[in-house]
């Protein structure tokens, strides 16, 4: 039963073009951040750690995690699209046990999030490794905590995609859910991470937990340990998914 539901979720995803646009967006965004990180590395007044330090290299290889906003949007659209296009009616007619449907979506999109991150990491490696070699910066992908950063990016994107599914189940209006989430991540969390005193609590927010999980460095901001950040982020994902599932089971589909 669950296998069939998972396969149906993948069929839904790959029979429209949305995944392709978001993936191209993620590749473009990753490329841009790699370009900025390496391109501006030697300019005066850059507060980022230099590329020959472990922190600098972790930050560079952690930029694929910056596409988490797109991963959340992917999750939101996966869920709200069902309501927006009323495909939730045939979906629930085929599977009246709605908890199973949302669970399948959560699992499917966790997998999709990992795939999304894997493509982003491949893109950043393809761009960064030759560039660093040309600049004469020695880099080993097995050292300087880079493996943990890459795993953190993958896990972070998986959880963020699930978070999006949960948000979409809670806020069924697609535009409202996307705009609200983007405002939260790009405005509210940016403020939280920038303002003195308040930024000490940034590590407890989803964005801060994602950064802590990938073990990246941000001036003046401290993150929780990797496993703590991971558990915290997963808790956010599970909480939103569970709340969204509970509401989806109870709400009438009219």
């Amino acid at each position: 039963m669950m296998t069939r539901l998972l396969r149906a979720e993948f069929t839904k995803l790959f029979t429209t073009k949305l995944w392709l646009w978001l993936l191209l967006g993620a590749i473009g965004m990753t490329g841009l951040f790699v370009g900025l990180t390496i391109g501006l590395a030697d300019s005066a007044g850059n507060p980022s750690p230099p590329l020959n330090t472990p922190e600098g290299q972790r930050n560079l290889f952690g930029v694929a995690g910056a596409t988490s906003a797109l991963a959340i949007v992917l999750g939101i659209i996966a869920m709200t699209g069902e309501f927006r296009h009323e495909t939730v009616t045939p979906t629930f007619l085929a599977t009246p046990r709605r908890g199973l449907v949302v669970t399948a979506k959560v699992i499917a999109y966790a997998i999709v999030g990992v795939g999304f991150g894997a493509v982003g990491i491949l893109a950043e490696l393809a761009l960064a490794l030759p560039w660093l070699a040309a600049k004469g910066v020695a880099v080993s992908l097995t050292g300087n905590g880079i493996p943990r950063t890459l795993i953190g990016v993958l896990l972070g994107l998986a959880v963020n995609t699930v978070l999006g599914v949960g948000i979409g189940a809670l806020i069924r209006n697609q535009v409202a859910a996307i705009v609200g989430t983007l405002v939260y991540f790009f405005v509210i969390e940016s403020l939280i991470s920038a303002l003195p005193t308040i930024r000490d609590y940034y590590k407890f927010f989803p964005g801060g937990a994602s950064s802590g999980l990938a073990n990246t460095y941000q001036p003046n901001v401290e993150f929780l340990a990797g496993w703590q950040s991971g558990l915290l982020l997963i808790s956010y994902g599970v909480a939103f998914a569970a709340l969204g599932t509970a509401l989806t089971i109870r709400r009438d589909v009219t």
Binding site: R4, T89, A94
Partner: protein, 300 residues
């Protein structure tokens, strides 16, 4: 009796609004039943309760004794067509059906089989965005037929269809009914389903108005005898002395008599020596009966 639909004491409140109120009716297996009522009567809410999409405030709606959510193979038991817009605009018809095939474990070939059945096979790879209302309605039917269910539930399937589409739908539903399927089809226009249904369930303001056989309803409401005579006053006074006290109205110089057979009126006229120029039976129009029962024609 696997295909029997039983709605029992069904009530649904949307906040303070009572959409369905203590509604009970049954649909016998193998019959085509029209579920009728004016817009806003609670038809869609009732059907959505039956299909597990809306949770009733009170009462139950079952198919073969089971709630929809408890059916072991819902799509193979009941096929439903709710509205013509439940498709992702950027997905093709074939892929829309394949998703449902995957969930239910049907072979992908079922998608093409039902597309052929509703005449959409040649446009199966077109995105639904480019489909007309009629094509969407057909795609909805195709989705409902994927599991070859014995029960079909259709909510206003004729809405938005052109006359050609309605004719196609009628013929299609008659074919489905001829296969022995139970069909429950809602409409706010009796004439849309009049030629297709055996039984009718009429609701208004969320409550049952009438359930029964369509033919019985027409004959129960009786017929009117139209009598034309050069001396209507004498006829009316003669009818007034009649034991059964028939209903008498005047219209356009004719006398309209309810509750008497033409032979009885002719006999009375013969005995009284009244000259008759016309003595005909006018069957009540079903649409008028529908309006009378639902009160929708009150201001007409």
């Amino acid at each position: 009796m696997s295909g029997q639909i039983v709605v029992s004491g069904l009530t649904k409140m949307f906040g303070p609004v009572r959409a369905v109120h203590n509604l009970s009716f049954t649909v016998a297996p193998g019959t085509v039943t029209g579920f009728l009522g004016p817009n806003g009567a609670g038809k869609t809410t009732t059907l959505r309760c039956l299909l597990g999409l809306v949770t009733p405030t009170a009462g139950t709606a079952t198919i073969g004794g089971l709630r929809y959510v408890d059916l072991p193979q819902p799509s193979s038991t009941v096929g439903a067509v709710l509205e013509a817009s439940s498709f992702h605009p950027a997905r093709s018809a074939r892929n829309h059906l394949r998703v449902i095939c995957t969930v239910n474990g049907y072979p992908a070939s079922r998608a093409d089989a039902v597309l052929d059945q509703v005449g959409l096979l040649t446009v199966a790879d077109r995105k639904v965005r480019g489909y007309s209302t009629g094509m969407r309605q057909r795609l909805g039917l195709a989705a409902a037929l994927l599991g070859d269910p014995g029960v079909l539930v259709l909510d206003e399937p004729a809405n938005g269809l052109d006359p050609e589409g309605i004719a196609w739908l009628r013929a299609f539903l008659r074919r489905l009914a001829a296969d022995g399927r139970t069909v429950l089809i809602s409409s706010h226009v009796l004439s849309e389903v009049e030629q297709t249904v055996d039984d009718i369930v009429i609701i208004d303001k969320g409550a049952l108005v009438r359930q029964g056989n369509l033919g019985d309803l027409a004959s129960q409401q009786g017929s009117t005898v139209v009598v034309r005579t050069p001396d209507p006053d004498r006829l009316v006074s003669a009818l007034g002395r009649y034991d059964h006290r028939p209903g008498i109205r005047r219209r356009d110089g004719a006398v309209m008599v309810d509750g008497l057979q033409p032979a009885e009126i002719g006999h009375l006229a013969f005995l009284e020596g009244i000259e008759l120029h016309e003595l005909t039976t006018e069957r009540s129009d079903l649409e008028d009966i529908f309006f009378a029962l639902t009160g929708e024609g009150a201001d007409r």
